[in-house]
């Protein structure tokens, strides 16, 4: 039983405190109200006695909760004696009555209201004026309640990741631990992680679920090292029941953070707490990640999200349209899905722009309008890359300095990225082999040919390399 350590029932309902009382607190207070109404004007009764109740009755001391300080003053100053007298008539053990402003009951009311928020907020999602997304975030868990499984479109490209997440949400800490989800930019990793967290929080309200992206985690750890509160941070993190960390590839190269994270990871894992991670690439492709951490990441379930098929993309667009109340012709959706293949977020962005255009025109728009509107964004990226960007993307992916890539060296960690850079120059920019050679400190054109062919061949054989190259390409074109 993995939960035996977690769930200690914390419900101390006020009524249960004095079950031996002859009549319940509720009945007792009703009896008081029934009598007091004769000696109070109707208006006063409605104003000052509204939302009052007995919250405890112990050792002859009755505590009455009132909604605000004014009610407390009024009842305490004007009706204390009358109320006490009535109470004593009903139960002569009672010798004291006190009033307290009860914030607790308000809070529970708020909490239930908060549960019904998503629909209310979602209605405004179609408005073009954007809101601060942080305000939709639950302060305890850091989860954005707009991400749910219901709004997640499942296709063959993500069904494994979805199924694994679902399983984890049903039984945290048991099935897949840690769960590691990887996939390219804008394909729904964050959505899936947050949906899992939200479902966990809904199914197991007592579990402490905490979501963080690694950037925030890093800055927290850095801050706490600076303020010498690292112990407190570790302590608070090791108390959570479900830890979700997004984009762990950003931990690359941050050794101290990795070390601290390693310890937190171990503590949680040993106590069978669920850990869910995401990254834009599999653990073994994250550079500068300590081996012990890498092997921990690989120890559970690894699920990937690949690129969606055109059918899935159309399904996603349709579901977005439904949520936002957007009506567009099928051929427009098909056009969008066919032309934006590698990034769902971009595709949704394009959809929003089309929807905005339609709203301004106040009439249905046709395919030609859409083509015109999106002309720039669809055509531009292909041309937008250049030598500098390729070097930048490759070096940042492998966590190298840009200059390192151009060094004349045969160090292994440089040779491979350099070959990939040459491959990309050829493939993406159609540069001639001699000019590629010249860019790398005057290497011979045969070196460039060799690199290109080797990478081309290796991509066929080695799926990890293929993923890496794909991710680099994605970064190349996703950057604005």
């Amino acid at each position: 039983m993995p939960f035996s350590t977690i769930a200690s029932p914390k419900e101390t309902l006020p009524e249960s405190a004095d079950s031996q009382a002859a009549i319940s607190n509720e009945e007792l207070w009703q009896a008081v109200l029934a009598q007091i109404q004769f000696s109070v004007s109707r208006a006063n009764f409605a104003t000052w006695f509204r939302n009052t109740q007995i919250i405890s009755n112990k050792n002859g001391e009755v505590l009455v909760s009132v909604p605000n300080s004014f009610s407390r003053e009024w009842l305490g100053n004007k009706y204390q004696t009358a109320i006490l007298k009535i109470l004593r008539d009903l139960d002569n053990n009672i010798r004291l009555v006190e009033f307290t402003v009860d914030a607790e009951s308000e809070k529970t009311k708020r909490a239930t209201e908060a549960m019904s928020r998503p629909t209310a907020v979602f209605a405004s999602a179609t408005e073009t004026q954007q809101q601060f997304p942080e305000l939709n975030v639950n302060q305890k868990t850091n989860l954005n309640f707009r991400y749910t499984f219901e709004s997640f479109v499942v296709g063959e490209f993500n069904e494994l990741a979805h199924a694994a997440s679902w399983a984890v949400a049903e039984a945290p800490g048991v099935t897949y631990n840690p769960l590691f989800i990887y996939g390219g930019v804008g394909l729904g990793k964050t959505h899936l992680l947050q949906a899992t967290g939200n479902r966990l929080a809904a199914l197991f309200p007592k579990l402490r679920v905490v979501y963080s992206n690694s950037e925030r985690l890093v800055s927290k750890i850095v801050d706490s090292i600076k303020n010498q509160t690292i112990g407190e941070l570790k302590n608070s993190l090791s108390k959570v029941d479900v830890l979700i960390v997004d984009d762990v590839q950003f931990l690359a190269g941050k050794d101290k953070t990795q070390e601290e994270f390693f310890h937190i990871f171990n503590t949680l894992f040993q106590n069978q707490k669920q850990i869910i991670l995401s990254s834009d690439r599999p653990p073994n492709a994250i550079p500068a990640l300590e081996d012990r951490l890498r092997s921990r990441f690989e120890g559970g379930m690894i699920a990937d999200i690949s690129f969606p098929t055109i059918e899935s993309r159309i399904a996603i667009l349709k579901s977005k349209c439904e949520q936002g109340g957007i009506v567009l012709a099928d051929e427009i959706l098909e056009f969008l899905a066919a032309n934006i293949q590698k990034n769902i977020r971009d595709m949704e962005g394009a959809l929003n722009r089309v929807a905005a255009l339609q709203k301004i025109n106040k009439a249905a728009i046709n395919l030609a309008d859409v083509k015109k509107l999106l002309h720039n964004s669809l055509v531009a990226p292909k041309k937008a890359t250049n030598f500098k960007k390729i070097i930048q993307a490759v070096s940042s992916f492998y966590d190298l300095n840009k200059e390192d890539l151009l060094l004349v060296t045969r160090r292994k960690e440089i040779v491979k990225p350099r070959q990939i850079a040459m491959y990309l120059l050829r493939q993406e920019l159609q540069e001639s082999f001699p000019s590629i050679g010249r860019r790398f400190q005057g290497k011979d054109h045969t070196t460039a040919i060799y690199a290109f062919e080797k990478v081309t061949q290796k991509i066929e054989e080695d799926s990890t390399l293929a993923t890496e190259v794909n991710l680099i390409k994605q970064r190349l074109y996703s950057e604005v």
Partner: protein, 373 residues
């Protein structure tokens, strides 16, 4: 009661107190001002159960006593009595005002029906200069929007940490933060959410006063007290209910990374945004195009009904070229809160939040979400 009082002091107190009274049929006492004579003071109390104002006016007291009369009615009457000095006395529940040549009698109600004002322990408090406080409140007070969904952002956050006071407000589209350094370290940190209505009253009342306000608080209420300049006796008390709940972790909203920034003359930008706003139609959308390499900012707006408007302004800019749209009203609100001749606008990528700041002043910032293109 029987007192003599300076008409101008009485009038000022009355006009400020009267504003918060309400006519509510279930609790008619709330339309009254409770006048209590104690010691050498006439105390005026008004409340709407959210905000309570108590104001002490020095008076020549012949006899103690208490009356409750409709506040707005009394204020209207007093405004029309042109005398230097007034004699006030009670007759049963009625208030009688006399001058050498005039007499009015105002029908009152039972003072015992007036709500009892909650007390607040004076253990935890901090102090701030009135002008600094009211000016800071003025920068943010119009931003909160009444929201049933998120009651915690329908007020103004007031947070003190060591000797730093932060005053913050947001309506989920924009957020303003004013930072003030207090004169002394306040020892205990404090943070509460003040309802917008109370913040407005504080501004109205204290912006005409000088001196230091002491702020006392507990989890349910906060009390803003201004002491009398001449003697150590409270002059004005404003007590407010606080909004329950935790304020959102607003620091997360303030972006830290930017793709472009520009510095520009404020007045020129304001007038161009206003003009563009005229053409923006119902969507209120105006578009900005920043081209850092030419040092230019283009302001553009268009609707089918009104026509179109385009203007180019010189600016100093860094970063990449950006096209971005804003609700011009929100943009203007921010610009109007920024003091100084020049403003900086910092833009984050992917239509993320932007920051508006005065040049050379780190104490104020205005974060604004753009309109999706």
């Amino acid at each position: 009661m029987k007192i003599e009082i300076l008409r101008d002091l009485f009038k000022k107190a009355l006009n400020a107190s009267e504003k918060i009274t309400r006519k509510i049929s279930s609790l008619p006492a709330l339309q009254n001002v409770l006048m209590t004579v104690e010691g050498n003071f006439l105390e005026l109390t008004t409340t709407n159960l959210e905000t309570t104002i108590r104001w002490w006016v020095l008076a020549k007291v012949s006899k103690k006593g208490q009356v409750a009369v409709p506040a707005t009615f009394l204020a209207n009457v007093v405004n029309l009595i042109p005398a230097e000095k007034l004699d006030l006395r009670e007759d049963g529940q009625n208030l009688i005002i006399t001058t050498p040549d005039q007499e009015v009698q105002i029908q009152g109600q039972d003072p015992a029906e007036f709500p009892i004002i909650p007390k607040i322990s004076k253990n935890d408090f901090w102090q701030i200069e009135t002008t600094t406080f009211t000016q800071a409140l003025g920068l943010v007070v119009d931003i909160p929007a009444v929201s049933q969904i998120r009651p915690e952002i329908s007020g103004v956050l007031i947070a003190v940490k060591a000797d730093i006071l932060k005053i913050v407000a947001t309506d989920s589209f924009r957020l303003a933060e004013k930072t003030i350094k207090l004169n002394k370290n306040q020892g205990k940190d404090c943070s509460f959410i003040l309802p917008q209505g109370a913040a407005r009253e504080l501004m109205n009342i204290f912006s005409q006063e000088n001196g230091e306000i002491s702020i006392f608080y507990n989890p349910n209420q906060a009390l803003f007290e201004l002491s009398n300049q001449e003697m150590s006796y409270p002059q004005i008390n404003v007590l407010s209910r606080l909004i329950e709940g935790a304020y959102p972790n607003y620091q997360d909203i303030i972006p830290k990374k930017f793709v472009a920034n520009l510095t520009i003359n404020k007045d020129e930008l304001v007038s161009q945004i206003k003009k563009a706003g005229l053409f923006s139609g119902r969507s209120s959308e105006v578009r900005l195009e920043i081209t850092p390499k030419d040092g230019k900012l283009k302001v553009f707006s268009q609707t089918i009904e009104t026509g179109k408007n385009e203007a180019t302004l010189p600016c100093r800019a860094e970063g990449i070229a950006v096209k971005i749209s804003f609700n011009y009203k929100f943009l203007l609100d921010g610009l109007n809160s920024v003091k100084g001749a020049e403003v900086t606008l910092e833009l984050s990528e992917n239509e993320g939040p932007c920051i508006l700041r005065p040049v050379g002043d780190n104490s104020f910032l205005y974060v604004l979400m753009p309109i999706k293109l």
